[in-house]
């Protein structure tokens, strides 16, 4: 009954497609996540938007979640794939807890597990369409890393996904330093998120900042940033160029 069966050219390497369920494009997506290491742990920020293409469809999406006792995961990209990843991690942490010994998976272990998952999915041409940020602290050791949908992973003192890489990272490279206080860290993240809000069309003005320290994870209530649109350069922008915008 396959009227519109997907057709492959004769020389395709993709294999049988009758059960084609591989991800081809994302549908509901989240935009940038930005995170940095500070004195007591990790700070991470993400807005609460879920875009459906160019429509800002969902405005209450929590894109950061605690994983176990020691880690915090933030995701951009396909929201349903993020939820799937949360299910994988839930099972991982469950089995880790079931050992009931003194050992627990720390952020480094979770990050590497995610890297394996993302890379293996990519190899099967069925990626989880996300860019992930994994941060945490265990036994005083801070850890912050990122994994992309093709399995590229690395750690750094500050990371970002998507547009954050282009707009936020340059700010962080200039202004980040070791042992930022909590207030300075938040101020720095807000500076990055404000730039993203001005310039990323998928960003919305409703964000959360999450913090993870040895004591645990806390996530702020959603709040908005103050913005300023009265710059004189934006008044009458088409003066001298009628017809343009």
């Amino acid at each position: 009954m396959n009227f519109m069966a997907s057709k492959q050219p004769e020389n395709s390497l993709l294999g049988p497609e009758s059960d084609s369920q591989r991800t081809l494009y994302p549908y509901v997506t989240g935009t940038s996540v930005v995170a940095l290491k500070y004195k007591d742990g990790i700070l991470m920020a993400a807005d609460m938007g879920g875009s459906y293409g160019s429509t800002l469809r969902y405005k209450n999406v929590e894109r950061m979640k605690a994983i176990g006792k020691h880690s915090l995961l933030g995701a951009s990209g396909e929201i349903s794939d993020f939820q799937e990843i949360l299910r994988y991690l839930d099972e991982l942490i469950l089995y880790d807890n079931m050992w009931d010994d003194g050992n627990s998976l720390g952020p480094k272990e979770v990050h590497n597990y995610l890297t394996r998952v993302m890379y293996n999915r990519r190899n099967k041409f069925n990626p989880l369409w996300n860019s992930l940020v994994l941060g945490g602290i265990k036994n005083g050791q801070k850890y912050l890393g990122t994994v992309s949908m093709i399995g590229v992973n690395f750690e750094d003192n500050h990371v970002a996904t998507g547009f954050g890489n282009h707009l936020a990272r340059p700010i962080l490279r200039q202004e980040w330093h070791e042992n930022l206080s909590f207030e300075d860290g938040v101020r720095l993240l807000e500076k990055c998120m404000r730039v993203l809000l001005y310039r990323d069309r998928s960003a919305i003005n409703k964000l959360q900042i999450a913090k993870i320290t040895e004591e645990g994870m806390t996530i702020s209530q959603p709040y908005s940033l103050k913005t300023y649109w009265e710059f004189s350069a934006f008044e009458n922008p088409t003066q001298g160029a009628v017809g343009s915008w």
């Binding site: 003194g102 998976l105 394996r116």
Partner: protein, 269 residues
């Protein structure tokens, strides 16, 4: 233990509630040459007696490195031990690959025990005939475990398995309270002394024993023959100075009152 009608199958209980095949497997461990292990807060030392079949042959490998932070000494059917070591190495390497972190030794030991248990509950299998002393480091410190063919595992401060291990156990029982704070070198010396106890008067030399160490900042490795011989020579000299009755094992800890140590015949299990 005598032959009886309930010992053919591992899946047959005796009326007294025993699984004889499992117990026979544990006998195989007792017949193997001795292996000992002891630990402090930061280090674990494994040692074993290596008796070659003849002068012409080399001795069997009884201590295996499983990972940088885990090693194992075996007693019993060395072939079974080799296979289990391969399993352990595989588990460690897979965990390291997925999590970029060393497999906690406590978890490996449980996996090993569960693997052994399977063989006690399948009619087409037999229990592994090897006892394993697993030494490893994890987040909570240094650990020494003993894995039994029955599928049980126990954690120890110090332990000995194999033939004439009771002599070593007696020695270790006397000294174990000091082990937690021992230095690495003292721990190795104690291991060598414990090995000597199992030799029943035969001279201890590095050609007939193997010693391995793992500790904080020290990956698992087997000590080479010269190092071991030097340590043996060091405490034998001390022993001769201390005990004019030419008792070579009064040695390192002078506080033990050496004269009671010889004279008690090492018990055969």
């Amino acid at each position: 233990m005598f032959r009886n009608q309930y010992d053919t199958d591992v899946t047959t209980w005796s009326p007294a509630g025993r699984l004889f095949q499992v117990e026979y497997a544990m006998e195989a461990v007792k017949q193997g040459s001795a292996a000992i292990g002891l630990r402090s807060k930061t280090h674990i030392v494994l040692g074993c007696v290596n008796k070659a079949n003849s002068e012409l042959s080399s001795h069997q490998k009884k201590i295996f490195k499983v990972d940088d932070h885990i090693g194992v000494a075996i007693a019993g059917l060395t072939a079974d031990g080799r296979v289990l070591s391969r399993y352990m190495r595989n588990e460690c390497i897979n965990y390291s690959f997925t999590y970029e972190s060393p497999l906690p030794v406590g978890r490996l030991v449980v996996q090993l025990a569960d693997k052994a248990q399977v063989c006690t509950q399948r009619s087409w299998k037999r229990p592994y005939g090897v006892g394993l002393l697993v030494a490893g480091l994890d987040e909570s410190g240094a650990h020494l475990y003993y894995n039994c063919p029955s599928g049980n595992y126990f954690e120890y401060q110090a332990f000995a398995i194999g033939s004439r291990s009771q002599a070593a156990k007696t020695y270790l029982e006397r000294r174990f309270e000091n082990f937690a704070d021992s230095s690495r070198d003292d721990l190795v010396k104690d291991a060598l002394m414990a090995i000597r106890e199992t030799l029943q008067g035969e001279t201890l030399k590095s050609s007939i024993c193997t010693v391995a160490v793992v500790g904080v900042g020290e990956p698992f490795h087997i000590l080479d023959l010269e190092t071991v011989q030097q340590m043996i020579d060091a405490f034998e000299i001390v022993g001769e100075q201390e005990g004019p009755a030419a008792e070579p094992d009064a040695a390192a800890a002078a506080d033990q009152g050496g004269s009671t140590e010889e004279g008690v015949a090492p018990m055969d299990i």
